[in-house]
Amino acid sequence: MFANPMRQAPVMVLQNNTKREQGKKAQLSNIKAAKAVADVVRTTLGPSSMLKMLLDPMGGIVMTNDGNAILREIDVAHPAAKSMIELARAQDEEVGDGTTSVIVLAGQILQAAEIFIEKRVHPTVVVNAYFKAMEEILKITEELGVDIDVDSEEDIKKIVTSCIGTKFSHKWGDLIVDLAIKATKTVLRQSGKEVEIDLKRYAKVEKIPGGTIEDCTVLDGVMFNKDVTHGEMRRKIENPRIVLLDCPLEYKKGESMTNIEMSNEEDFKKALESEEEEVRKMCEHILRVKPDIVITEKGISDFCQHFLMKGNNITMIRRIRKTDNNRLARVCGATIAHRPEELQEEDVGTLSGLFEVKKIGDDYFTFVTESKNPEACSILLRGASKDVLNEIERNLQDAMQVARSVIINPKLVPGGGALEMELASRLIEHSKEVEGLQQWPFKALASALEVIPRTLAQNCGGNVVRLMTELRAKHSKDDGLWYGIDGNKGVIANMKEIDIWDPVAVKLQTYKTAIESSCMLLRIDDVVSGMKKTKKQAAPQQEEEPRPDEGHTFGDERDG
């Protein structure tokens, strides 16, 4: 009441705990965060890259040099860094390879903008220049793309080899390459002009520790980790007739609430008998189509096993996954049936040549192979330890994605930083035509592209300054297009001669993602943090793979 009316308490508009960072400070801190993320993965670029070992809180280990896999495990707090990590994911889902390059490049592009921010150039000028440069980059990249023949095994092999070249599994030479190409070709489905390659659903990687790397194969069929339900069933059948079911082969109560009123002992016996009778009927329906093998996603009762095995010598497998069942259906040509009484001749799968249950290590595995025209496959990976296998799987996934990108868009560009170098030199040339202030950021972006060959040179321990100057000199000449860094030897080499290639699709995606996201971060001039979450805005993410039936299996996936 006696307070001086002139001295007012500060007016609080926002809540106390919100923090704000404004203007240059916000921009610079975003750039710093992005750079920090880029530095994490920098050493994993190129053929002489090193792996990262990540320990999660549970004590599990991940060993990898896959950019996405590394960043996925890292928990960051800075919002800009989070945005960077998203990039790796987008790249991985779209083309599957180049996750490290995209992060390194985005980091560098942002860093290139730093000096302009310091000099008080308006961010929109930088952003517009960047977008302009991106258009130019995409145009040149498309132009430089070399067409290849998709049908020629050799051409595809070249490219997948150079993709694997930067990975851990590079040691085993062509092995992984062959696996990737074979798997991709297997799941390729062509209907008219549309090419469908669904690696996620139909190419399954199965990892079994033990054995040697050389034992890895792509099956002309599928395999899964299950054994027959009874020891005496046949474990090897040639030209089997396969019935696939997704219902339980046991007595099951209906959905509605039903009670039986029993008044005497007879009734009870009768009830049990009729349960048995139902299962028997089910079995008879199955017998009608004369299968050799019955496979179901649900359970099989003992009685049913007994009935089908004893009299009819049928092999049974229970509780396989829905996804395995789908693959199996494609391999053997069967339709997955639900009601045994509706089984028809067409539902029986006859296309595969061999059914076999093998014991590998301590586990039993079922193989359905020698299929005539498999449109799905399993890739069997063997190796010393689980961690190694995990890394090989990641490499293989990348390689398959690359193979897929090439088959869909059969164009290649030279790898080893040659393309980036060429782009840089052409853009710098072009920058002279850019009007006004935009010229500088345009040029800066061009030089930022050099980060790829530079990092390659760094990672293989070459003399960075000398290599880069030499490379720049090569690219300034007309015939220098093919020169890049040979990441194994640390020298300048002609990429055409040593066959280092990248698919255009991967490169284009890398540039687009890196530049667009950098622009987004540059446009920010105010970071407000610490607000409470009020509304749930984001729609729930789509599930990775719908598995509606997983609930019905009773927890033990591995029984059999």
Binding site: Q8, V13, H122, T124, D246, N259, K270, V528, P548
Partner: protein, 560 residues
């Protein structure tokens, strides 16, 4: 203490006015830098760490947790503008704050708030009159280009600014296609009919417009076809699981065999329903509930695409678009049987499953009844997509407003400057005290061109002065050739004044009118406040007792 006291805080008179206005200005300062083509974005981080990157005034303000009551009014103002017009949220907030700031100065100089308010109201009336009579241009005179320019103008401040040529074309095409004539005979352009999907990967330039509707889901079983031409669509709002009786209903059977019959019947029920749907000619089935695996098999065999768990809002939209009826049950009123009428089916020329990025999408193209449009946004990461979504939504609203009201005005500060010059002259014709308020409104309007210039790092004073000269000339000159000067606004790239009508910086007239109205009304609402009482939280019985005891004790002490 004497008289009636209030439990809580109370502020009165000039204090409360100043405090309110300081808060409002504080809030306006937050969004100020995001105005105009050279405006920058804000990054908002909530306590969980979720990030929003945006340039949209309404989004920024609603994400911030504003505490101050007067500032809250402004947040609501932005939301109102967003709902009513969809664009111009930032400018309305800035304008309202400026109006208040100037009003406060008047009040400080002993002009009663009611006079100021009256002046503001009068100014508003004059402004609207002037816009309608002098500044608007009919779209028919300008054609489709005007629409594209307007869409582009609304995008120019956003992250898609540099790609605005591409997106504006897309937005205008989409809006033109969703044109409908409602039962009142009016032509409507519902923005809701443009569905926006976000899939990360690729670049923003690969976003596409699809003439039809799209759902983000895959088909229910892999055995179904991926595309169907001349689709007949059934929309079913019940599930196709095994039939079950409602809770609490028990079935009592004597004979165990009947139990099995019940079980079979449960399946047959659904089977009959499925067959009924298939027999009616449907080849695409949308189901809002689940579809049991056994039921899927019938669809697979009939070559029908079935989709399960379609959200009911999506289903309704597809139903209206294709002319289908959403069927909630199959009972027939005349007989006790169930039936599915073929008249319930909708149709479209193509239903297709496509993979975009890593996710499956179902597209409905060539819809029979209304035209739904789908824009699939691609881009580097989720934040980017969200921001593009918001920008496109704003642009869609702008195009809708123009198409429905058919009138546009020039942007880039042209309207504001013109009004300011006009009001200044108008004020001089008055003899009352309102004169002062009106000339303040005239001054306040200039905040828009000023902020635009400041954000572009240009000399605001110089540019705005130049603009005023142009507009004054256009309003006073007899010469017809000078009339065109009224379209002069700022060119923020080159830092000059230019004819924005020719340059294609256009905004819907209704958006300008509404934002003036909202800004002035909000300013008046806040100005009217001269007393703020914050009620302290209610005391519980216990607290009261304790207080009374304390008081009694204190009094007792005084007494003795």
């Amino acid at each position: 203490m004497s008289g009636v006291s209030i439990i809580g805080e109370r502020e009165q008179g000039q204090d409360v006015r100043t405090s309110n206005i300081t808060a409002v200005i504080g809030l306006a300062n937050i969004v100020k830098t995001s105005l105009g083509p050279q405006g920058l974005d804000k990054m908002l981080v909530d306590s969980i760490g979720d990030v929003t990157i945006t340039n949209d005034g309404a989004t920024i303000l609603s994400q911030l947790e504003v505490e101050h009551p007067a500032a809250k009014v402004l947040v609501e103002l932005a939301n109102l503008q967003d709902k009513e017009v969809g664009d111009g949220t930032t400018s309305v907030v800035i304008l309202a704050a400026e109006l208040l700031k100037r009003a406060n100065n008047l009040v400080k100089n002993k002009i009663h708030p009611t006079t100021v308010m009256a002046g503001y109201r009068l100014a508003l009336k004059e402004m609207i009159k002037y816009i309608k009579s002098n500044l608007t241009v009919k779209v028919e005179d300008l054609g489709r280009d005007a629409l594209i320019s307007a869409a582009r103008t609304s995008m120019s401040s956003k992250i898609v600014g540099s790609e605005s040529a591409f997106f504006s074309e897309m937005v205008v095409t989409a809006m033109e296609r969703v044109k409908t004539i409602n039962n009142m005979g009016k032509t409507k352009y519902p923005v809701k009919n443009v569905n926006i999907l976000k899939v990360h990967g690729k670049s923003s330039k690969e976003s596409m417009l699809i003439n039809g509707y799209a759902l983000e889901m895959g088909r229910a079983a892999q055995g179904m076809p991926t595309s169907i031409e001349n689709a007949k669509i059934a929309c079913i709002a019940f599930n196709l699981n095994k039939f079950r009786l409602h809770m609490g209903i028990q079935v009592l059977v004597k004979d165990p065999a009947e139990l099995e019959a019940i079980r079979q019947k449960e399946m047959d029920f659904t089977k009959d329903r499925v067959n009924m749907i298939i027999e009616s000619g449907a080849n695409v089935v949308l189901c809002s509930g689940g579809i049991d695996d056994f039921a899927l098999k019938y669809f697979v065999e009939a070559g029908v695409i079935a989709l399960r768990r379609v959200s009911i809002s999506d289903m309704r939209r597809i139903a209206t678009a294709t002319g289908a009826t959403v069927v909630t049950n199959l009972s027939d009123y005349e007989t006790s049987d169930e039936k599915f009428e073929a008249s319930n089916l909708g149709s479209c020329s193509l239903v297709q499953e496509k993979r975009i990025g890593d996710y499956d999408h179902i597209f409905f193209e060539g819809l029979a009844e209304t035209n739904c449009q789908t824009i699939v946004i691609r881009g580097a990461n989720e934040y980017f997509l969200d921001e593009v979504d918001r920008s496109l939504h704003d642009s869609l609203c702008v195009v809708k407003r123009i198409l429905e009201s058919n009138a546009i005005v020039t942007g880039g500060g042209a309207v504001e400057t013109s009004l300011s010059v006009y009001l200044d002259d108008f004020a001089r014709t008055l003899e009352s005290r309102e004169l002062l308020a009106i000339s303040e409104v005239a001054e306040s309007l200039l905040i828009i061109p000023k902020t635009l210039a400041i954000n572009a790092a240009l000399d605001a004073t110089d540019l705005v002065a130049k603009l005023k000269v142009f507009h004054h000339a256009s309003q006073t000159a007899e010469d017809q050739s000078k009339k065109e000067l009224k379209h002069y606004g700022l060119d923020l790239i080159n830092g000059k004044c230019r004819n924005n009508m020719i340059a294609g910086v256009l905004e819907p007239a209704i958006s300008k009118v509404k934002s003036l109205k909202f800004a002035i009304e909000a300013a008046i609402a806040i100005l009217r406040v001269d007393d703020m009482i914050k009620i302290a939280p209610k005391l519980t019985e216990e607290d009261k007792m304790r207080l009374a005891q304390q008081q009694a004790a204190a009094q007792g002490q005084d007494f003795f």
